[in-house]
Symmetry: C2
Subunit: 208 residues, 2 copies
DNA sequence: CACACAATGTTACCATTGGCAACATTGAAA
DNA sequence: TTTCAATGTTGCCAATGGTAACATTGTGTG
């Protein structure tokens, strides 16, 4: 994820300057987040895993929240990409709505700790972090648009379309959150795989 | 909230034994959580506010998570009570569905930090904490039931009813989460008060 | 009533963590 | 070549969660 820089850490054995430390920190933080959970992420653990002193992080992030915000931003960009891919492979509006929502939930289930971090970072620096806001908008724009279009196709007015756009957020976030917690399985009767279960719940919401 | 014990702290000036420390700690934690946010809750700050050494908390909770779990449990019980009240004052099934959902969102908006803590405690000791599980079930039972009943009224089969029950969770949690973050307002056109906005979004979800 | 004891609370004490300040190293511009 | 801004390091500090040993108190039992 987000591997773009030259990664000079491999060019020379003990080079004092890392070269792409910021990205390396974000990547390692993503790893640690996925494996050890959000409670076990510390500036020191991330820095140590990268092989750098923990205070070097302050050359790239204002504080720990800054690092976590960058991690969340990377997550939103990844999620947005997966949504767009699902959108691209669907044909009809109904399919697009369902498949983007499924992709959203699939991402959340595949990266539960990251997803929770992403959503918990929502309001922290709400108006302060430009990159985070952009990534968020990028992520939800498609969901909202599909919700609006669906309302429009049903002949709803402008206000109803706006509400339907928000409702699309509501559905995907709610479904993803419950899916992560394993509540869908708990509520299901038989042994249904999660992916299929998510589809059914979403369909039940979209078709009624 | 949860004020039931004798509160012996007022009976004698400097009594060594508090008498109802556990409840006092939970209550103070609720206060601090509401005013200072979840990041500013520490065992020490809570204990200090109660006027007790921070290690005394370990006589009543296994660790910090134990205290937070108790706080979350208290939150779920409060929420369940408000849902039941809303349920009691509604007449038709549709009204019950809407009003319980509105009550749910109103609680989340009135106690945003608590609500986030409640939901973040979901999976921590999922199978370990009996009280938390009971409070959770108490909270969501009504929502799920109303979702099922609505599906039944529409002539859906047993499986569809189960999915509709889960879908009810999805909707209320999603709506509450976005309402807390102020996303509903952001997506709305005019200057609509939040309570009214939540109603409309929920109606748009329930009626389509 | 005396006394043992379990329950509850307190005082050291420790490792970890986020963060600051001062210093070290390096690449690049002048 | 020299200078300097960028980047990374060590030393340090306060706050925090947690453990261990000790202090206090209510309570049941002889």
């Amino acid at each position: 994820m987000a591997k773009a820089g030259p990664d000079k850490s491999t060019t020379k054995g003990g080079s004092y300057h890392h070269g792409a430390l910021r990205e390396a920190l974000v990547d390692k933080a993503l790893e640690i987040l996925a494996s050890d959970g959000v409670d076990n992420i510390s500036l020191r653990s991330v820095a140590k895993a990268v092989g750098v002193s923990h205070t070097s992080t302050y050359r790239h992030f204002a504080n720990k929240d800054g690092l976590l915000t960058a991690v969340a931003t990377a997550g939103f960009l990844d999620l947005a990409a997966e949504i767009e891919e699902a959108y691209g492979t669907a044909a009809t509006l109904q399919e697009q709505r369902l498949e983007t929502a499924v992709a959203y939930c699939r991402f959340a289930c595949a990266n539960p700790n990251l997803y929770k971090l992403m959503f918990s970072s929502f309001l922290k620096d709400k108006d302060g972090e430009e990159a985070l806001n952009n990534a968020m908008n990028e992520t939800f724009r498609r969901c909202e648009q599909l919700g609006r279009q669906d309302a429009e196709a049903r002949g709803a007015g402008a206000e109803q379309q706006g509400l339907a756009g928000v409702a699309a957020w509501v559905v995907v976030h709610g479904a993803a959150s419950l899916a992560i917690e394993g509540i869908l399985e708990k509520a299901a009767s038989g042994n249904v795989e999660r992916d299929r279960l998510i589809r059914r719940v979403l369909q039940s919401l979209y078709e009624i």
